[in-house]
Symmetry: C3
Subunit: 203 residues, 3 copies
């Protein structure tokens, strides 16, 4: 139940982030819905395609479509108030990537993949919805340019494979991983830590 609530909160947060980017581009109603939709389920869809898990997850469970549709309607109606909840949204979004990272890793383990591939799948699940959102809106994906985001997912993933070697139940490693991803992202934003940008020093 707790797991389910977090999952839905993550979807809502991702969908709202899609609505906000789409509104900045002045898209029409359908465009806003599609951007919200791909932001929320794009990462999981790419994960399912890569491991051959088809029909992809959101086609098998109608709850996702309805939650996203509801979120879009709500966000558009209250669009002038969205800025007041920006902080809560950031928190949902951060909880979302923590959870999605772990969900992706689990799928990778079930598919019998190596740890490094599981970590890649976790990162894809958490981050590529945002990447597809930015491509559809004709922007270079924001996670390639700034902010610790994917890096938090990768560090969480590495932690998981270290933690599960400890003589405790796997559930502890599971929860710890989610908290590590969330913690790294919160600290990075709080202290304005980001990855170095790379460019040539001589022309």
């Amino acid at each position: 139940m707790f797991y389910f609530v977090i999952d839905i909160l993550g979807i809502v947060a991702f969908a709202i982030s899609g609505v906000m980017v789409a509104m900045d581009k002045k898209l029409d109603l359908f465009g806003v819905f599609i951007i919200a939709f791909v932001t929320a389920i794009g990462g999981g869809t790419l994960r399912d395609l890569l491991i051959g898990n088809t029909p992809v997850l959101w086609m098998q469970e109608s709850i996702y479509v309805y939650v996203i549709a509801g979120t879009v309607v709500f966000s558009i109606v209250f669009r002038d108030q969205l800025k007041y909840v920006r902080k809560s949204l950031f928190l949902f979004d951060t909880i979302g990537i923590g959870l999605y990272t772990m969900v992706g890793i689990s799928h990778g383990l079930n598919a019998g993949l190596l740890p490094v591939m599981c970590i890649a799948l976790g990162t894809i699940t958490a981050c590529f919805g945002g990447v597809i959102r930015d491509i559809l809106c004709n922007e270079i994906p924001v996670i390639f340019r700034k902010e610790i985001y994917a890096t938090a997912c990768i560090m969480g993933g590495v932690s998981y494979f270290l933690l599960r070697k400890l003589p405790y139940d796997d559930a502890y490693a599971f929860v710890a991983t989610i908290l590590i991803v969330i913690g790294i992202r919160l600290l990075a934003v709080r202290f304005k830590i980001s990855l170095p940008n790379i460019y040539r020093s001589v022309k």
Copy 2:
């Protein structure tokens, strides 16, 4: 036979719309061909990937590749005359999305998906070729910004699931759905109806 002719006309119309966008971007011969190709088969390809229907359809039937290649050659040779057939093209394109919507819904039903997912698949089949075309040409997809297009597909899809509850043969619902999609699109363009664009009213 009739079905087949419509299918080919739809592909031709989509391919020509790809050629016209690619020419505006002054792409080279290969670029024009690829854009025409993804416009014509992109929606169906994404549908096949999402439901795990691989190899995707156009890889199993060579007719698509040859029709598209022929259309590209024809369009380039007669590129200065294309504007005179713009109205016919619009009609083919509209017939194409009507047909593709129904084709996508059928695939969804065969894959045992819920109605809402079948409607999504129908809309993806009809619309995402154009979305991929616009992304490859570095534009925000036109269907996110203006025109009733995806909306016609969605309304047609909803109609199909209402109509098939009636005590008639499924073939009637099938044909009616195609006509509904075409009708909505024609009326929307005729009366310049479009979805509202969404943006924040306060800064």
Copy 3:
């Protein structure tokens, strides 16, 4: 062994080309890695998805991830010296597309596809890593705009299906195809041959 060395050289060349494009866009460390990664494995991934060969190849063999990661670190450390090896890189890249074209064709044959689809798969394997790289960096893909690149792959693919009708071992056609792709690309660049750009002559 020889085959393996060429494969790795191709990956390294593609990854470095990704790093260079990503640096021009001043992406951060994660962005540079992802761009290098998709450039190197994007074409093969799309091929695997289209024919339903999942989990996709790079998820089954960890060597690819490590080679790409090593290449990215190396390229960033020596980024100011990269221009001195530009010529060698061009050669690796050209060898890479020759090899990838043939790899794609082989996958198509194994999947029982028609020759024209095998050629398409070979071209996709060789070229679409670069296409995805350019889309992620918000550019119209370079291979749609200039240079003989995909054309060399297509001509090589056609040659393969002609050559294997000759009464020799298939291995000769295999090697000849790779050399033909490489030869066409080298000649095209040497003599500045490119495909005509297509645009309307009247407004």
